[in-house]
């Protein structure tokens, strides 16, 4: 019996060692093969595993497409030198603790600028580290307001949570014409609470009423109690400012209990179709998203992405792609690959990216317009604000 146990232990240990090996390989990737003096290493941080993995993987792949494109076109002209780009992307599991460890190992391996982090919570922590190290940080999708505050080196490409909340409130009240609105949000998440606070404030400023505000906790999978409470109010529409995983649960359970309200959400909804088992549960939902893969303007990127990864790129892939081009523009403008020079150049550039034309203010915020996406016949489709037919169809 003891021998048998020992054998099992040995097998178990081998497995765990193998696991270590494979996971560290999986976490590091190097797009762009060159390594040498003239390589600009972009460090990347984002979740490659866990419940937000879809975002991190998309950003990483989008950035890889951009880097390959730039390298194939001969690299970036910086002053009289030509610089090739490469990416060192590590998994932060969307967790503060893991992000710090991953950031430290990126710095040990040597990076010139940071693309990250993909989710908000780690970004708030990491910006203090990058500010201390003085390197350029651009978050593709960290939308919490304090992701980049008090850090002159930090910029963001996406909308902030409050701006998203405000935009969705304008949209629900002015464009869709609803007055009685319910909200369900994740109480333990910056992204969700930030959006919800601004949303509630703006709805009331516009003369609407938030008839029910229901909270849930991180990791909850059962929302029936909250949704039943909403069902018994006179709400006409439900705002769901959460990531796609919770959104999928909520949409499914709303259908189960016969809630029947139209759903709207923020950019965290992108990817929801991969998570739902029944696309009819999210049919007609509208969310804010700066990128739509069926848009003819982005066809080149979409086909390159599909060829490389056998998947359709989402908003996060576009964000990752754009951040690389923003870095390229900053490098060219500054004529230097030093972070200090690039940071100074950031406010002077304008980049016409996949997610729209973007400029940056001195406090690191992007200036660009809003776009909406709806789910129609189980597919993402552009939502045209003037088209009111879609709202009555719900």
């Amino acid at each position: 019996m003891k021998k048998f146990l020992a054998a099992i232990m040995a097998v178990a240990m081998t497995f765990s060692l193998a696991a270590c090996g494979s996971s560290s390989e999986g976490n590091t990737s190097n797009a762009g093969s060159t390594s040498g003096e003239d390589t600009f290493v972009i460090g990347g941080l984002g979740p490659l595993t866990g419940s937000a993995a879809s975002y991190g993987i998309s950003v990483k792949q989008g950035a890889e497409i951009a880097i390959n494109e730039i390298n194939e076109a001969g690299g970036v002209k910086v002053g009289d030198k030509t610089v090739k780009l490469s990416l060192n992307f590590k998994d932060d599991e969307a967790s503060e603790e893991t992000a710090i460890t991953a950031y430290n190992s990126l710095m040990d391996e040597g990076i010139d600028a940071l693309l990250g982090t993909v989710t908000s919570a780690p970004c708030i922590v990491i910006k203090d580290y990058t500010a201390q190290d003085g390197i350029l940080q651009i978050t593709p999708s960290g939308s919490a307001i304090n992701c980049i505050t008090d850090a002159d080196n930090a910029f963001r490409l996406c909308f902030t949570d409050p701006l998203q909340g405000k935009t969705m409130a304008d949209f629900a009240v002015n464009d869709l014409g609803y007055k009685n609105i319910a909200v369900i949000f994740n109480n333990s998440d910056e992204y969700s609470t930030g959006m919800k606070d601004a949303f509630v404030e703006e709805v009331e400023a516009l003369g609407g009423t938030v008839v029910s505000t229901q909270a849930f906790n991180e990791g909850d999978v059962d929302f029936t109690a909250q949704l039943t409470a909403i069902k018994n109010t006179n709400a006409e529409i439900l705002f769901v400012p959460t990531y796609y995983e919770a959104a999928a649960y909520i949409a499914q359970q709303a259908k189960d209990i016969g809630l029947g309200l139209p759903l709207i959400g923020g950019d965290g909804w992108d990817g929801v179709l991969k998570q739902v088992t029944d696309p009819s549960t999210v049919e007609g939902a509208i969310f804010l998203s700066p990128f739509l893969s069926t848009d003819p303007e982005v066809a080149d990127f979409v086909s390159a992405y599909e060829e490389a990864y056998k998947a359709t790129p989402d908003q996060f892939a576009a964000d990752g792609y754009d951040v690389v081009y923003v870095m390229k523009a900053a490098m060219e403008k500054a004529g230097s690959t030093e972070s200090a020079d690039m940071i100074a150049a950031m406010t002077e550039i304008e980049v016409d990216g996949l997610t729209g034309s973007v400029k940056f203010s001195a406090d690191g915020e992007p200036e660009k317009g809003a776009k909406f996406v709806t789910i129609k016949d189980g597919q993402y489709a552009a939502y045209n604000v003037e088209n009111t037919e879609e709202t009555t169809a719900e």
């Binding site: 019996m1 146990l5 909270a215 059962d222 909250q226 189960d256 016969g258």
Partner: protein
């Protein structure tokens, strides 16, 4: 308002009956082996993944897939008992408890290695439309959950009270030594208990995954803990107690989420546990036993 309360009660009954099903496994094992099997929650997870493997990867029809899931979990329950707990039958209780926690981590990490951390969406195998009675909507999965748990509980009660193996289980839980003296095969009875407990966990896993439709390696942890609380609340070791505890827990949770505060619902659930244990330390239906000298 009345509809609201009624719907919240039905929600509570649904989660509660899943908790009850899991709590039965805790309470049966405790009654017989006098140990808390902390790996029990992870059997639910294994059950859910087994169903996924059977349906999505092996393309089995629904009924064989359910049977496959139940067999996998029962065999796993027996294996865990044989490999991890049986050698510790006479060891201090703490050692067994720690082993149970170890088994729980082992199962979670094993499924993390095999299936990775990314949640896997899983289409429910129960396709029954919601029904609407006087403004109260009851979803198909809720109906199935309530029917299946009721049948399981009746079958289990009959099994325990009417069959020879059931009598043997009751005898072993009363006094293991005396049961051995009158010729009951204690080891086989314990194995049977684990098999039945894991079978019920498999059923709970199937219902759980059809409800929430997303698989991840840690999915068993929270329902496992809640069910353990339910078992303690009802009186650990008591089978009707586990059923009652589960349903009470589900209803308290649902009502406090709906009418008091979502953030506080877990705090309220655990406060109820503390109060019940202060007033009635053996739980609602637990037997008060004097320590044997």
């Amino acid at each position: 308002m009345f509809n609201n309360i009624l719907e919240q009660l039905i929600n509570g009954l649904r989660t509660g009956s899943i908790y009850a099903l899991i709590a039965l496994g805790y309470t049966m094992v405790y009654g017989i082996a006098k140990m808390i099997n902390f790996a029990h929650g992870d059997i639910i997870m294994v059950g859910a993944y087994a169903l996924y493997v059977a349906i999505v990867l092996l393309h089995l029809p629904v009924i064989p897939a359910i049977i496959f899931t139940c067999v996998v979990c029962s065999v796993l329950g027996i294996l865990i008992e044989r490999i991890a707990y049986k050698p510790l039958r006479n060891a201090p209780r703490l050692a067994v408890l720690i082993t149970a926690i170890g088994v729980s981590y082992f199962l979670q990490s094993a499924s993390l290695l095999i299936f990775k951390a990314t949640p896997i969406p899983f289409q429910s195998i129960i396709n029954i439309q919601s029904i609407n009675i006087g403004g109260v909507t009851i979803s198909g999965i809720t109906i199935v959950t309530l029917v299946v748990t009721t049948i399981s509980m009746i079958a289990l009660t009959l099994f325990i009270n009417k069959t020879k193996a059931g009598s043997a289980m009751r005898a072993v839980s009363e006094d293991m030594g005396a049961a051995q003296l009158v010729g009951i095969n204690v080891n086989r009875t314990i194995t049977l208990t684990f098999a039945i407990g894991s079978f019920l966990a498999a059923v709970a896993g199937i219902l759980y995954i059809c409800q929430y439709q997303s698989l991840k390696p840690t999915m068993g942890a929270l329902p496992g803990i809640k069910a353990f609380v339910a078992a303690v609340l009802g009186g650990i070791g008591s089978i009707p107690g586990a059923m009652l505890g589960g349903i009470i827990l589900g209803i308290i949770e649902s009502l406090s989420k709906a009418f008091i505060s979502t953030e506080l619902s877990d705090a309220i659930v655990f406060s109820v546990l503390v109060i019940v244990l202060l007033v009635k330390p053996s739980g609602f239906l637990g037997k008060k036993k004097n320590e044997k000298v």
